[in-house]
């Protein structure tokens, strides 16, 4: 793990240059440029708002559009980082066959690239907060830590996925499907408080209710999205009860994922 950080520092210029290349190439010949990057969360927000007007979802006394946008912001960042990360090694086949540098540079670069889009989303979120006359509290200082945690979760998936994808391209097909399923298993369309209310307060699943809630929060995104909404919109500290199962799972998975990647890395140039 220390190695990753060391490499990250040593190759920071390379990561920056590759990320810059990714961004430039993606938007160079597009008239709307980098605005395309934020189209996805905005569209999803509009669709969810439309759907909600039919079915009625509780929104913790907050305006629903901003609640769901605040959920989409970390979610889209996670989803895009993970799926770009999984494809990052195979899409750089030419470099992998020609030049050596630690291969974890690729998934990390894919994620760094997404930070730019995340930053633009933050601008839109800020605009919405002004519109709804919401003032961030001191708890907003938690945001960098939450984003960092999201990056770790995304890396846990991309390291393993990118390595498998070199051998079996099925991974790049399967992951988008899995991630869109996971979106419904994360509090994106609905707030976590709704799940909490159903399972913990109303014990809707009987004896299984508490275990089911733990299972739900085992998904790191549940904790991430809830915490993000709490610190930015509600002016509350993160709910650690919702965070810790996901954190434990991530800390267990990440080392395995990274070691798997490093072992597979030796054969990338031969197999890719």
């Amino acid at each position: 793990m220390i190695n990753v950080v060391k490499n990250l520092y040593q190759y920071r210029e390379l990561i920056a240059a590759l990320a810059w290349k990714n961004i430039v190439i993606r938007y160079k010949q597009a008239y709307l440029g980098v605005l395309w990057a934020v189209l996805k969360p905005i569209m999803l927000m509009l669709i969810f708002t439309l759907v909600r007007s039919f079915v009625g979802i509780e929104s913790d006394d907050l305006p629903y559009p901003i609640l769901t946008f605040a959920a989409l912001l970390p979610w889209v960042f996670f989803q895009e980082s993970a799926s770009e990360g999984v494809n990052s090694v195979t899409s750089n086949a030419a470099l992998i066959k020609k030049i050596y540098f630690p291969r974890e540079v690729f998934p990390i670069t894919a994620m760094v690239t997404k930070i730019v889009e995340l930053a633009i989303s933050f601008v839109i979120l800020a605009g919405m907060m002004i519109y709804y006359k919401m003032v961030p509290t001191i708890y907003a200082l938690w945001v960098p830590a939450i984003i960092f945690y999201t990056m770790i979760v995304a890396l846990g998936i991309s390291f393993f996925g990118a390595a498998v994808n070199v051998y079996y391209r099925d991974m790049s097909q399967a992951l988008p499907v899995a991630l869109s399923l996971l979106m419904y298993g994360s509090p994106v369309m609905y707030p976590l408080s709704l799940v909490h209310k159903k399972l913990i307060e109303e014990q809707a699943a009987g004896a299984w209710s508490n275990d089911l809630y733990t299972l739900y929060t085992l998904n790191p995104l549940a904790g991430i999205i809830d915490s993000f909404q709490r610190v930015v919109l509600k002016g509350l500290p993160p709910d650690f009860n919702a965070l810790y199962p996901g954190v434990i799972l991530t800390l267990v998975i990440l080392p395995f994922s990274y070691l798997f990647f490093k072992r597979a890395e030796n054969w990338f140039a031969d197999v890719i």
């Binding site: 390379l14 240059a17 030419a94 066959k97 020609k98 030049i99 050596y100 140039a269």
Partner: protein, 414 residues
């Protein structure tokens, strides 16, 4: 201590497509059950390679396609990992493996300089310092802010080479890069390389199919064949060996088809055969240097030919024209009636140095002279040395100038 050390390096590849997930799972079950697994055939791209390279050496690596040259470079550059054995590199390596690997077509030349600099591990500061020098060397000032996708292939290579050579590494690896670029730029690259080799004392590994280049730049050459080191030594000798190997293959191929040779034929005349006679008038394919030899070229003339002009030339197996003899006006007042003819060229003292050569022939005829027959690579013969003694002036180059040397002292410094 050698800067590069390669011990028992072996690399195996599995032939065929990567096994499917199903096959993998089945194999795992078979392994667990102690049953034999289905193995795919292995191919040894490198087979027990051993060598060391000292600091400042300039080593050429040559061999046929598939001999393992590029695989070897990939192991030196840490891109592939050996199946067996080890590669020890004591110093930083500039991965020049195919210049322009990191050049992105969407970015401009200037942007690519920074991107490639980062990929090659050159700090941004140094790139900024060297930017003008790089642009200047690439001769692309005018186009430096144009996307590379609008460059010609030669321009891309120029850009790639300019970036790569600005890198300050101990070891340079160069794989077939100088093939593109015009002659003037090639010349410039060579000068730059020689500057790096001689003045900066860098270790250079060069892979190329241009053996003459290699012979000139490198002092030591490694000849690879089927994943093994076939020869490793002074460049003239190793290149000589490679030429001999090539000549055999070319000779075999040319017996099957004259594929890459130019050939123009008409119905007026056919080439029947070429014979080479030595001093004793024996038909042979092997002559000695300085021997009195005769080439007999047999033609069948089908229609009357006015003003015939015969040509005969010698070229190397890689089609470098060395000498040409043409009859010019000698038979110009004759008309050849249909029938079989023999044209004879006598060379009193054969001037070409030991090696394998080939011949080309041509016939022009007609009131308005036009070409009616031309063939290259039609007859191979070998020149050997009179004695087995190898004199240096008899193994480098193609002809012997027979110069005589004197040494005078013009003045004495006290």
């Amino acid at each position: 201590m050698p800067i590069i050390e390669v011990n028992h390096l072996t690399k195996e590849y599995q032939l065929g497509h990567i096994t499917s997930l199903k096959e993998n799972v089945l194999n795992t079950f078979r392994r667990l059950g102690g049953k034999p697994t289905q193995q795919r055939e292995n191919f040894k791209a490198l087979d027990d390679i051993n060598f060391t390279i000292e600091q400042g050496e300039v080593v050429g690596i040559i061999g046929h396609n598939g001999a393992g040259k590029s695989t070897l470079l990939k192991h030196l550059a840490n891109i592939s990992k050996p199946t067996k054995g080890e590669v020890i590199v004591r110093g930083s390596i500039a991965p020049l493996i195919e210049v322009g690997a990191g050049v992105n077509p969407e970015l401009t030349g200037r942007e690519n300089i920074f991107l490639n600099g980062a990929i090659l591990g050159i700090p941004k500061k140094i790139i900024q310092q060297k930017l003008d020098e790089i642009i200047d060397f690439s001769e692309l000032e005018q186009f430096i802010d144009t996307p590379v996708k609008r460059y010609s292939s030669g321009m891309t290579v120029k850009l790639g080479f300019s970036i790569a050579t600005s890198l300050d590494a101990d070891i340079l690896i160069i794989d077939e890069v100088l093939a593109v670029g015009d002659l003037a730029f090639q010349r410039k690259c060579f000068d730059k390389m020689e500057d790096m080799i001689i003045r900066q004392g860098k270790t250079v590994l060069l892979v190329s199919h241009n053996i003459r280049q290699i012979e000139r730049i490198c002092k030591r050459v490694i000849l690879m064949d089927h994943g093994k080191i076939y020869a490793d030594g002074a460049s003239a000798e190793t290149c000589g060996l490679f030429y001999a190997q090539n000549d055999e293959i070319i000779k075999k191929q040319s017996e099957i088809l004259h594929s890459n040779a130019r050939k123009e034929k008409s119905n007026d005349i056919d080439l029947l055969s070429i014979e080479l006679l030595n001093e004793n008038s024996d038909i042979t394919e092997l002559i000695t240097y300085n021997e009195n030899v005769t080439f007999k070229i047999n033609y069948k003339v089908n229609t009357p030919l006015e003003n015939p002009i015969f040509g005969f030339g010698i070229h190397t197996t890689d089609f470098l024209y060395l000498a040409t003899e043409i009859t010019d006006n000698q038979f110009k007042d004759q008309t050849l009636l249909p029938g079989e003819y023999t044209v004879t060229v006598n060379i009193p003292s054969f001037p070409l140095l030991p090696g394998v050569y080939s011949t080309r022939i041509g016939v022009d005829a007609g009131k308005v002279t036009h070409n009616i027959l031309y063939e290259e690579n039609v007859f191979h013969f070998q020149v050997k040395n009179i004695t087995n003694e190898r004199s240096l002036s008899l193994c480098e180059g193609f002809i012997h100038l027979k110069g005589s040397w004197t040494l005078n002292r013009n003045s004495i410094f006290q």
